[in-house]
Amino acid sequence: MAPLLSVRDLAVQFKTRKSTVRAVNGISFDLEAGETLGIVGESGCGKSVSALAMLGILPKAGRVTRGEVLFEDVDLLKLPDSQLRQIRGNDIAMIFQDPMTSLNPVLTVGRQITEALRKHLGMSKDEAHNEAVTLLDRVGIPAAKDRIGDYPHQFSGGMRQRVMIAMAISCRPKILIADEPTTALDVTIQAQILEVLKQLVAEENMALILITHDLGVVAGTCGRTNVMYAGRFVESAPTRKLFAKPRHPYTLGLLKSVPRLDAARKEKLQPIGGTPLSMTSEMEGCAFAPRCIYATEESRTKTPELRRIESDDHLVACWNPVQEQDMPRIEIVAARDEGVAG
């Protein structure tokens, strides 16, 4: 069966007055119904931009330069906006990083939820109202009936994000894209929000694309994780395997630079040397090479492609994948539930 979503060689550019920035340099992935996919990378690596490109809501200066985004066998990139609008918010929904600025301050929360319901599902005002209350309840907002007439600024950060989620799932989308949903929140709230998301995935068989720079977030939530660097995927694997046996030096570096509770106190954190790539220049060779401790001449001159390593579900784009002895072997400890699928 064809996957629900199939992205092939998507590339996005931004034209500013001074230069052209290559934000996304050809990414490809498949997404099955009900699957949770994590996309991990530093800020500026192009992960958010990819999501915006898929939905057709890039800022004015952005352009898709090549690629396909096949949703249920239809290429979204070729659809006119009027048809894309039927899909946005309806079949594919998105939530964003900062719930304070991402919600309209002068509309009630209820209004912002019923908007989508009335547009996509054709509900009447009352039907939509009731459904909105149900949704708020579902995402865990107490006294939903009373709060539906409240404005965004009357909610706390975590609550606002729940409102965003309620808004996004209102039309029962097949895919939910969550762009850094927990970054603006406190750690304890983060866990709650991720729980909400996981629950919804299970209940609705909704596919989830979770975009984040935080490895801890994908560890507990995503079945599969893609690591992105400089606009490309450099590694793709089931999350458990990624943490246990990372093959790309960048992934290794990311894992090593996260402080761990079970590390010895004297053990130093190892940040990745160098700075993220400037995305304007056309590059030969591996984009990570300048910061890579394993880099060779080949890395600098030939651009590596994603290739299978070890097993069918583990891909890496590297000429010198990480060796066994260097692997940190991080085991993902399951949280309250039975853990991560895959």
Binding site: G89, F96, V106, L107, E115, H120
Partner: protein
């Protein structure tokens, strides 16, 4: 919300008191003393003595101020030294004329300025955008009276399309229950009069409203630009909403907030403009009244007029404050 309104209203009191003191002091500071000022040169000795009694000019200054405030608050603004008519009566005739003009000017400015600013923002850096910017800059660089003169010259004198002066054709008669000519002609069921009134309103309203139009267009444009790049607009788009809905419900609703604050500034702008425009078009409003008062050194009228204006402006600002809270829920629930 009522709470908020009350609080804001209370805050205006010190300003109003301050204003009354200033106006009070102003007349007292004029060369020649208040008797000369308020009576004019034609005052007889008798009248001067009477005024001294009335105003308590022999009494200490704070008593004088008290008497003054008592008069003002009971609606007695004194008598014009020029016409010997009570000022409040004259005000009742003059104010509607200016008010009508001001409303016409505001409508002109809003109905053209807001869409202009909106479209300019939507076509950011397009031809219309740049043109509107240049035009609005030119607009605020024009002295009102120059613009009024030019308009009068071109449209009334040279082209003869519109009347040159006044509110109504001299030969036409109309009952004036409200003294708002537009309303009066509607009440009287006289369409010809209505048309005539409107024709007379056009030029002065355009002259008066041009600067506010320029300002509104710029502020709207800036606000729309600001809002369009906001995250919640991105969210609205991500929900698959119709672009027109996004424009209306998400962009405009938020962009209008700063525009409304600007409206508060208008009261002052329109008043100043009125003084200048009414002269050019012989419009019998408060503006030209003030001008005559200046020319004829009718300080009683000036005193009453300035006080009236200032109070009006303070109230308009208060209204704007309150309506802002009404529109922006963030302020309401402070």
């Amino acid at each position: 919300m009522l709470n908020y309104a009350l609080r804001r209203a209370l805050l205006t009191i010190p300003i109003l008191v301050g204003l009354s003191i200033i106006v009070f002091a102003f007349v007292r500071a004029l060369p020649g003393g208040p008797e000369d000022a308020l009576l004019g040169e034609r005052g007889t000795d008798e009248q001067e003595a009477q005024i001294r009694e009335e105003l308590g000019l022999n009494k200490p200054i704070y008593v004088q101020y008290g008497l003054y405030m008592k008069n003002v608050l009971s609606g007695n603004l004194g008598v014009s030294s020029n016409t010997r008519q009570p000022i409040t009566e004259e005000l009742k005739l003059r104010f509607p004329a200016t008010f009508e003009l001001a409303i016409a000017a505001m409508l002109f400015a809003i109905l053209i300025g807001v869409p202009l600013g909106f479209i300019a923002a939507k076509r950011y850096q397009g031809v219309l955008d740049n043109a509107s910017l240049i035009l609005s800059l030119i607009g605020i660089s024009f002295p009102v009276f120059f613009l009024a003169l030019l308009l009068k010259y071109v449209f009334a004198i040279k082209l003869g399309l519109l009347p040159t002066i006044g509110r109504l054709d001299i030969t036409r008669s109309l009952e004036h229950p409200t003294n708002f000519y537009v309303l009066d002609s509607i009440i009287a069921g006289d369409p010809a009069a209505l048309w005539d009134t409107l024709r007379h309103l056009v030029l002065p309203a355009v002259a008066l409203g041009t600067i506010p139009l320029a300002i509104i267009a710029r502020v709207t444009r800036a606000a729309v630009l600001d809002v369009t790049s906001a995250d919640y607009v991105r969210t609205a788009k991500a929900k698959g909403l119709d672009p027109r809905v996004v424009d209306r419900r998400h962009i405009l609703k938020n962009a209008m907030l700063p525009v409304i604050t600007i409206v508060g500034l208008w009261a002052g702008l329109l008043l100043t403009g009125a003084v200048l425009t009414e002269t050019v078009f012989a419009w019998p409003g408060v503006g030209s009244w003030m001008l005559e008062a200046i020319r004829f050194r009718d300080y009683a009228v000036l005193q009453g007029g300035i006080l009236f204006f200032a109070v009006l402006i303070v109230f308009v600002n208060l209204l704007v404050d309150i309506s802002y809270a009404f529109l922006d829920p963030r302020i309401r629930y402070q």
